[in-house]
Chain length 357, copies 2
Amino acid sequence: MNKGPANDVLLRALRRQPVDRTPVWMMRQAGRYLPEYLETRAQAGSFMDLCRNPELACEVTLQPLRRFPLDAAILFSDILTVPDAMGLGLYFEAGEGPRFERPVRTAADVRQLRTVDPETELGYVMNAVRTIRRELDGQVPLIGFSGSPWTVATYMIEGGSSRDFGKIKRMLYAEPAILHSLLDKVTQVTAGYLNAQIAAGAQAIMVFDTWGSVLTPSAYKEFSLDYMARILDSLETGEGEERVPTILFTKGAGTRLTSMVETGCDGLGVDWTTDLAEARRLTAGRVALQGNLDPSVLKANPEVIRREVGRVLESYGHGGGHVFNLGHGITPDVPPEHAGAMIEAVHALSPAFHQDR
Amino acid sequence: MNKGPANDVLLRALRRQPVDRTPVWMMRQAGRYLPEYLETRAQAGSFMDLCRNPELACEVTLQPLRRFPLDAAILFSDILTVPDAMGLGLYFEAGEGPRFERPVRTAADVRQLRTVDPETELGYVMNAVRTIRRELDGQVPLIGFSGSPWTVATYMIEGGSSRDFGKIKRMLYAEPAILHSLLDKVTQVTAGYLNAQIAAGAQAIMVFDTWGSVLTPSAYKEFSLDYMARILDSLETGEGEERVPTILFTKGAGTRLTSMVETGCDGLGVDWTTDLAEARRLTAGRVALQGNLDPSVLKANPEVIRREVGRVLESYGHGGGHVFNLGHGITPDVPPEHAGAMIEAVHALSPAFHQDR
């Protein structure tokens, strides 16, 4: 039986246990703002070549941890590995973002989707998880992840990124049964994929629902939240038979946070458009909260960064159950030392929020 | 002294007076989904040529009213006429949206902005308002509008449309005094612009804050809401010395709706990501609510459209104070008969929500 990581402040915070300071990591912390990432990526070839190479995916996963005292590593991968494995043919067009060769448009397209054995078609991800765990050597926990079925389906149906989600919304309103059959398949594959990540060594799981908030509240429940809940229900225990903590993140969730608690997740990601004080009220203290510095703050300067970190900590307030993070991924134009200033500020300012009063 | 329009159901609803049925109009109702609009636009030349031609701007304003029994006309214009008049040089790049020749980046850029006499630099808008009022001949009220200072400033600083608002947010966090001086100038020009529209005959005013919700709640108050409040405070009375009803619309406002009420506006636009029942609770019945059908519903079919119109009416519930609208502008790919089906459904289904119980 494995013991937990030496630094377990993230896992404790997600379980709402007492901690000495607020844990901190950054969405997209292994990314283009780091010159060493750009070097490794150039060495790998394309973005997907990097995802498919376990040694190099491990290397970029660990790079931010060598620079900064972060409390978690997050698997370097992409939410679109799942539909790629289902047969859609993922590729990246320069300046255009992700595209699919064979987008889903009809009931027949849904029927033709491949079932996926995660250790085969997505074996490169599991190999990356195992390699990272070995190299991390128990220092900090490793977060595995997937996209939400709704968010992944937007790319599968639109064929890539979208501004108004016209195709998937037309299907949602006019042919909901086809959309449900697609979401059902993506949910099954995603559950298997996350369970394989847990078996390979992921110690926490995050589900990214980037586009859930483009839906009406009732459509959000029917087409996004209910499928995320099914995934969480099907997750197996990790090492030492412990339940692996789970984090759901719907960007722009707002008052949807209240319904998200009902999935039984351990934590909710919160973007910067909702105050953590309001989020804490909406979730009635039943889950941990992760967030929520506006990533644009990192474009300013260390003094402003420290002030805004203080405002986020203040907004959550006293006590456990807070994981400091950005409200969305760090952007490529941020100087690495600004990310460092943010992490330093969390280390310096957060202990005051965890002392007995 | 002028009397009000023959059809005053919109004005009554905005004042939360009893009505027989829910009034209905559509954001961007004069637009590219109408073949007759495309014809007039081709005749005018560019989009800005159309805005600058009072006869043709009047023609496209009236086109949707010839097709559909709408309860309001809205001035055909653009929120970027204001910064154009302030000297930024607006142009439209094919497929790229609006651009400015001279974006604002420094304190010196702000100082160099021109003051604007709305009857001179923006006289073409006032001529359009007068022409439309003459042609409308008192049938339905005419809505005038502007952008919010924050939303207009995003274009002025970014130089056009943006995904992450990196430049204006860097200024907001690192050099807030420069941003405030810009917002102050835009607010002054916008107030004068809207007062000139009222003097020329606008019978209701809407302020579009398309990008307010990309801010944290506290930055929203400081950099967007407070400037909209200043504009509303400075509006003069219209014909017959009556206060002209005002509508604020922050896309994705969510819980910000509560603070928006404090501006003293008459109505709030609500997009489809917040239920009207929730919006009514957040605003405690102190304002009218306008919205909020997901514009994507219009891509489906008449049966679905009627069902979803019913759900929106149901969600607002019984009583006055509701103006039916889309949650955002109608998109170019909507068949005009689908817009007609929506309006017909509002006429058919809404009287039941206004009968004494």
